[in-house]
Amino acid sequence: MSDSLHDQVRRFILENYLFTDDASQLGLDDSLLGRGIVDSTGMLEIILFIEEQLGVKVADSEMIPENLDSVNRIAAFVTSKRKAA
């Protein structure tokens, strides 16, 4: 289950920010901001993806790099939110 969530997140980022399906282009811990993959307006799309495709609502206070700045962080955040629900 958690593998497929990681894949789903990675696929979304590869498709929408790196415009490729080559998984080797994005490590699970790569920083999305640090590598310049997401620009200052791009984070909106990631949050929409989490809310609409993964079914998890993101509160304002949760919109921080600790939750959203890599595939692993997003997956961990989504998993913990699902458990809490």
Partner: protein, 646 residues
């Protein structure tokens, strides 16, 4: 304004081909539809296309001195010509015309190459000194008017020679220059928004730098930079009481505007609804009797539209206003024409509406407009200056949670939803925080965002383009640069890159001249630049209030709504203009995998994914918009210039 072109042979005996000169000038005929003129003699050929503005009957070019030893073809205006003329008459010169142009040949006779220091204006010219067999090619200080040249190494038609012209089209029309992409020039464009002169996007074609004169004697070319943006060392800025400085600013700007009304045809003005153009109109209106024609542009997207502010200024100043409402379809339909005139890829659609605006000026029967361009560079208006100031402040205490929050105040016009959390703002603008003394500290976030668009380049093209853009810029910074205040360094970078490379060319001269309209730029009067560069940065940006001194100086002449308005940069609809309900055929054709592969710049798979993403996206990211416009314009540019001439 006008257009000029020509050829200079290394071999002084070689005669120019008249047909070649006619082809060259015909290629830029839009710059001067009112007449043509030629000089052809052994060793040199000059051609001129005239847009008549001063001395309508007598100003045909080339223009000569009394003994017909010095000839000039010239594009532009020298606004202090009545004063120069008076002085030259007193020295015994006889004038055959009433033009500003003729002052230049007489002044050259008097003062030699240094005569350009006496000119107040915007110009590009080719001056031929027949007895000394010297050709001068020269551009104005800040780069308002363009001039390109290229060395022809070995051609049966010309032998070794130099061809030159106001636009690159003229060089290609000579048949002596082959259009070929310069990958390093394109790399600079995909970093700074334009190549940095002398480099262009065409291999072998150079642009004379702003404030530079080329002296060509036989096969020898000497470059002389006669002017540059200069600032005092940090701590050495001029100090004076505020009211005195505000008064001085109004005086210089008022005179800069006043002398830019000198013309034998009516002069109008662009009005964006912002502080810069409104100030000019306010200064103007006091000084001219008849009501002024003003022109503005509006967009359907309320985030981009400034019509309400334009109306407020028009109501206050009672001008004869012309409004052009630009739709997304207008941009999509006119974009190929805009690229034919920019002669370069662009990363924003903004030039296209500017051409439609100049067209509306022409349709209203005018051929000269004043514009507020340059005010942000000269008087400190750009958000990038504020960003840099906050980031400098933050870098002094990088752990502070509060200092970076100031950044949120900078962008009230952007939709800072909660998704743009403070943490993200900090991450983005925090780039380079550890190195506040880096010469490019102020511009790193912008250049990095732009450079991210290179993700779409093909592997092969990326390898050819290299990664040397910022290193080359660093190597060419003025020696005094490290001693300047960080704010002045940011101003210099803006004035040396974006202003001449993009704003004054792709969005300025080219879009004006496409409709045979001359723009005039009071904020770039060199006296105003000298005054402003000496001011302490706190007079340009007081805390985070931009153009502080200008606001103060204009407070009685403008409505409070304009004076207190936060600066809104001019932006036009980007990808959405092309990928909405109606996509023009050319967009589909130029973005097919085959078209992309055959030109070789982009990775077709990535471009297809970008287009699909933009089509389904509700709020496209800045980078995606910029990348799409860059891809489309590069494809158009290649089709127009490189495919066509091969």
């Amino acid at each position: 304004m006008c257009g000029l072109a020509g050829i200079h042979f290394d071999d002084a005996a070689r005669p120019p081909d008249g047909a070649l000169l006619r082809r060259m000038i015909a290629a830029i005929g839009h710059r001067g539809p009112d007449g043509e003129g030629f000089l052809a003699e052994p060793g040199i050929g000059l051609a001129h296309a005239r847009l008549s503005i001063i001395d309508l009957a007598g100003g045909a070019q080339p223009i000569w001195n009394e003994e017909r030893t010095i000839a000039i073809v010239y594009n532009g205006e020298v606004f202090n010509y009545p004063e120069l003329r008076k002085e030259l008459l007193a020295k015994g010169h006889r004038f055959a015309t009433d033009t500003d142009t003729e002052c230049l040949v007489h002044l050259y006779e008097e003062e030699g190459d240094g005569f350009v220091d006496r000119l107040n204006g915007q110009y590009a010219f080719a001056l031929w000194d027949r007895p000394r067999r010297r050709l001068l090619l020269c551009r104005d200080r800040t780069g308002i008017l363009p001039l390109y040249w290229c060395r022809v190494v070995d051609s049966e038609v010309s032998g070794p020679a130099i061809v030159f012209g106001s636009e690159v089209k003229a060089l290609f029309a000579s048949g002596l220059v082959q259009a070929e992409a310069d990958p390093e020039g394109l790399d600079e464009l995909w970093t700074f928004w334009s190549p940095i002169a002398p480099r262009t996007v065409f291999k072998g074609v150079e642009m004379i730098r702003p404030g530079e004169m080329l002296v060509i004697e036989g096969a020898k070319v000497t470059r002389r930079k006669y002017w540059n943006w200069e600032f005092p060392d940090a701590g050495q800025h001029r100090r004076a009481p505020l009211p005195e400085l505000a008064h001085e600013l109004t005086g210089i700007l008022g005179d800069a505007t006043q002398i830019r009304l000198r013309a034998d045809v009516p002069v109008g003005a662009y009005l964006s609804g912002g502080l810069d153009s409104s100030s000019l109109v306010a200064l103007l209106n006091r000084s001219i009797a008849s009501s002024l024609h003003t022109f503005s542009i509006g967009f359907d997207d309320p985030d981009l539209d400034e019509s309400a502010h334009q109306r407020a200024v028009v109501e206050r100043l009672q001008t004869r206003h012309h409004h052009f409402q630009c739709t997304a379809a207008d941009i999509a339909d006119s974009f190929p024409t805009a690229i034919r005139h920019t002669e370069s890829p662009v990363l924003r659609t903004a030039p296209a509406p500017m051409r439609l605006l100049s067209q509306s000026v022409r349709q209203a029967g005018l051929k000269v407009v004043l514009t507020g361009e340059g005010a942000d560079e000269v008087l400190g208006g750009y958000d990038i200056f504020k960003e840099a100031k906050v980031r400098q402040f933050w870098a002094r205490n990088p752990g502070s949670p509060w200092r970076p929050l100031l950044l949120k105040r900078l962008y009230p016009y952007l939709d800072f939803t909660s998704a743009q959390g403070d943490a993200y703002l900090k991450e983005f603008f925090g780039q380079g925080l550890a190195t506040p003394d880096d010469p490019f500290f102020s511009h790193q976030p912008r250049w990095m965002t732009t450079a991210q668009c290179k993700l779409f380049w093909s592997r092969d093209f990326a390898a050819r383009a290299g990664t040397g853009a910022t290193e080359r810029l660093a190597a060419n910074l003025p020696p005094d640069f490290p001693r300047w205040h960080p704010f002045n360094r940011a101003e210099y970078l803006e004035a040396a890159t974006l202003l001449p490379g993009y704003l004054l060319t792709s969005q300025g001269d080219r879009m004006l001249m496409a409709s045979s309209v001359e723009g005039r730029f009071p904020y770039l009067d060199h006296r105003l630049v000298a005054f402003a560069n000496a001011l302490h940065p706190s007079l340009k940006m007081r805390v985070l209030k931009e153009k502080y001194l200008l606001r103060l100086a204009m407070q009685e002449a403008l409505p409070a709504s304009i004076l207190e308005r936060h600066k809104q940069p001019y932006r036009a609809p980007d990808a959405a203009a092309f990928l909405g309900p109606r996509t023009p055929d050319y967009v589909n054709e130029l973005t097919t995998p085959n078209a992309l592969k055959s030109y070789g710049y982009f990775d077709p798979d990535k471009v297809a994914r970008l287009v699909a993403k933009l089509r389904r996206s509700r709020a496209p990211a800045v980078r995606d918009n910029m990348a799409f416009v860059g891809i489309l314009s590069t494809q158009l540019w290649h089709a127009e210039f490189i495919d066509r001439t091969h």
